[in-house]
Amino acid sequence: MMNDEDMRSILKCVRCGTCRSVCPVFDVNGWESSSSRGRMLVAHGISQGLEVDKGVFDSINTCTTCGLCEEICPSGASPVKVIENVRHQLVLQGKMTDAQKLIRADALEKGNPLGESKDRMAWLGDSRNDLPEKSKYVFFAGCLASYRYPEITKKTFDILRKFGVTVLEEEVCCGSPLLRTGSDPSELMSKNLEQIKKTGAHTVITGCAGCYTTLKNDFPEELNVLHVTEFLAERLAEMDLKKLDLKVTYHDPCHLGRCNGVFDAPRQLIKAVCYLEEMKSNRERSKCCGAGGGVLKGYPELSLELSKNRLEEIPKDVDYLVTACPLCRTNLKRGGPRVDVLDIIDLVEMAME
């Protein structure tokens, strides 16, 4: 099951334990198997015949793939890659949890991991009949935004369409939930890729951090991908935004910030409309909201604790917690924040009124 390259990437971990100081899951659980070092050991154990039982799943599947361990790992190990690879190898052997099965079945059968059968593009409303077939830019809404946040998604697209952006005819899940939980996303990716080509777009724009990293780094063909904040930060001069008398803080989504280095664009947008005060950990060292990597679905209680820990880092006296990913927003709201959690587009729209 394991080739030399995979084995070397596991053995790159020298077990120094530095990851114990940052792994948000370990911080909550406290058992070694829930630290990144522990997961690397479990990965090694599996290669040596460790029986795959609940303990193995709970170790391997509780990683949110936030990548903070990788950011600080002195020996240059890549725990997230190893963990995703192990998940994939186990799934190939039919070894997966109910949550993993559900995510896969829903994403492949219904085109979204939420199990929704409704019209995905309903959020478009009246705009539906008025879309250019061809455009240089196409907006990829994502599952959560389409089904759970139709209003923000509409607001986002209303801003984007002024710049000539179109949408896909039949967008399906980007594949991120499958990829992070070990299943094969290629069928979904092909469907999306085919449609992206049809629009003739050279750039895909998304407001979701999970979609962003998947479109950018995991698709079989290279795509030019922008987060909506990157697209808008370049067009601030054309947007006529007014200043709001607000102080907000910003949560860096791991898959947008740490994994892809998009730190400045969201901050540029926020600073253009109000005052920004950073959270205790931010940018490269930002703590995870707790939702990613299938953890929200598979381990909702753990995910809630992770969210609460992140919310403790909100500075005093801010009016809102702003983020730039619907999954982060969902989980941060679950944690019971003392201030409301806004999508960055909510804030931009407030400044447009």
């Binding site: 030399d4 084995m7 070397r8 053995l11 790159k12 020298v14 077990r15 120094c16 334990g17 530095t18 114990r20 100081s21 406290g30 058992w31 070694e32 198997s33 070092r37 522990g38 050991l41 479990v42 154990g45 460790l50 029986e51 039982d53 609940k54 303990g55 193995v56 709970d58 170790s59 790992c73 002195p74 020996s75 240059g76």
Partner: protein, 460 residues
């Protein structure tokens, strides 16, 4: 007693959620950062001294090994249950029980992480000085049980200097308190000193009262470059004999310099055969004076000398140095740092000679050996990176490590200055300690007649 019956008993003591027999969990507790392995039968995360006393009593009655573990960052297998049995993961006992500001003392549970303790003390202008590279994750219990130290030991000494008293669970479950809150006490044998550095072979430390120091107002860092490590070693002897006590004095050889620059290119250390990193702390005046005196002492031997320009640069250099042990793995994607033979200590005057010997050993075995460490107190870390999938490289590594150990002992040094003996270096204790090891064995047998406390460690 059957394993299943023991499990029930242990669950009764600590509650089901605090005991694990999951194969994945046991696997994770079967090692630390060393090459030593041992599979536990149970992992327990106790939360009180009372629980530990009951667990140890039960283990003693049934002759089951008990191995205490802090964060498992050890480099000698000290926390590895080489004979199976129970691993006590102490990290859930992590409270600060009392901060006694007027007496400059703190009483803690052993599971607290060094950095978290110091973060809690900082607002009071106090700190606990021993400062290992693993301070962000290692626990105080582990530091005490290993008498750990780190980069500031040249000025501040080792953990031993800061332990005033301990609460210890002995092998039969008895709980004793050693030491005193008085800063001096000669009442009886110094049992505190016996347990500090005993690596869990005599008892389980469940509480500690620590002496603190006031945080220095100023710190400054100086980097001196040399043609080779031997010249750097001579400079250290000169600096220390001129009467300056730097708060840190570290050596980095050519490969380590490259590793740090690879890990964080912003730092841009000068290319040299070796660099000495000095830190001086104290008041503004003493720091300025100390830096000048070090510059003078190094002037004839160093090829260049520069001071860190500001606090940011100083902190970056220090942060990178802290992580360098593992960062050497980054130099070659096919090689991984292996902690073997990595912690010798020699008398200061022997340093240049030992550095030369390390170079010879490196050439003899055709194995790159990187040298870094707390040269100010004669503690050298020798870093070897190998292709861990090659048996031939493992053989070379073990032979080189053996030679390094024997060379250090031969010149009056030690096989371990701060990382501990554990299982990794147990076989050298007879050579290093002679008949003193017999006394250690007598003490061990008196306190732990059934040999349940961390068996297979320290040569006892």
């Amino acid at each position: 007693m059957q394993k299943s019956d023991l499990l029930i008993k242990l669950q009764e003591i600590v509650g089901n959620e605090h005991v694990s027999v999951s194969a994945a969990e046991l696997y994770c507790y079967s090692c630390d950062a060393s090459q030593i392995r041992g599979m536990p039968d149970f992992v327990i995360r106790p939360v009180s001294t009372e629980q530990i006393s009951k667990i140890v009593s039960l283990a003693n009655e049934n002759e089951i090994p008990v191995t205490a573990r802090g964060a498992g960052t050890g480099l000698a297998g000290g926390a590895v249950p080489v004979e199976g049995g129970i691993v006590l993961d102490m990290s859930a006992m992590n409270r600060i029980l009392e901060t006694d500001l007027d007496n400059l003392q703190v009483t803690i549970e052993p599971g607290i992480v060094q950095e978290k303790l110091n973060q809690a003390l900082e607002p009071y202008g106090l700190f606990f000085p021993p400062d290992p590279g693993s301070s962000a994750m290692c626990t105080l219990g582990g530091l005490i049980a290993n008498n750990g130290s780190g980069m500031r030991s040249v000025k501040y000494g080792t953990t031993r200097n800061y332990v005033l008293g301990l609460e210890v669970v002995l092998a039969d479950g008895t709980v004793i308190n050693t030491g005193s809150k008085a800063s001096k006490s000669v009442a009886g044998y110094s049992l505190t000193d016996l347990f500090v550095g005993s690596e869990g072979t005599l008892g389980i430390i469940t509480k500690a009262t620590l002496r603190l120091r006031a945080l220095p107002k100023e710190r400054s860092v100086l980097l001196a470059s040399f043609d080779d490590p031997e010249h750097a070693g001579q400079a250290v002897v000169k600096v220390l004999s001129s009467g300056i006590v730097p708060s840190a004095c570290e050596i980095l050889d050519r490969n380590i310099i490259e590793a740090i620059n690879t890990f964080d290119p912003k730092i841009g250390l000068p290319k040299a055969g070796a660099i000495l990193m000095f830190e001086v702390d104290g008041t503004e005046n003493t720091v300025r004076e100390g830096i000048e005196m070090i510059k003078d002492a190094c002037s004839t031997l160093a090829t260049s000398i520069r001071a860190a320009s500001d606090k940011k640069e100083r902190d970056e250099i220090w942060a990178a140095r802290r992580l360098v042990g593992a960062a050497v793995s980054r130099l070659d994607p096919l090689r991984t740092r292996v902690y073997v033979g990595e912690d010798i200590g020699v008398p200061i005057k022997e340093l240049p000679g030992m550095l030369h010997k390390v170079r010879e050993i490196s050439e003899e075995f055709k194995l790159p050996i990187m040298t870094y460490g707390h040269i100010g107190d004669g503690n050298l870390h020798t870093g070897m990176c190998i292709d861990v999938l090659s048996d031939a490289e493992w053989e070379k590594l073990n032979k080189a490590a053996d030679k390094i150990h024997r060379t250090a002992i031969g010149i009056g040094g030690t096989v371990t200055a701060e990382h501990g003996v554990g299982s990794a270096r147990a076989s050298y204790l007879e050579l290093e300690l002679g008949k003193a090891l017999d006394v250690m064995i007598l003490i061990k047998n008196a306190l732990d007649p059934k040999g349940i406390m961390n068996p297979g460690k320290m040569g006892v």
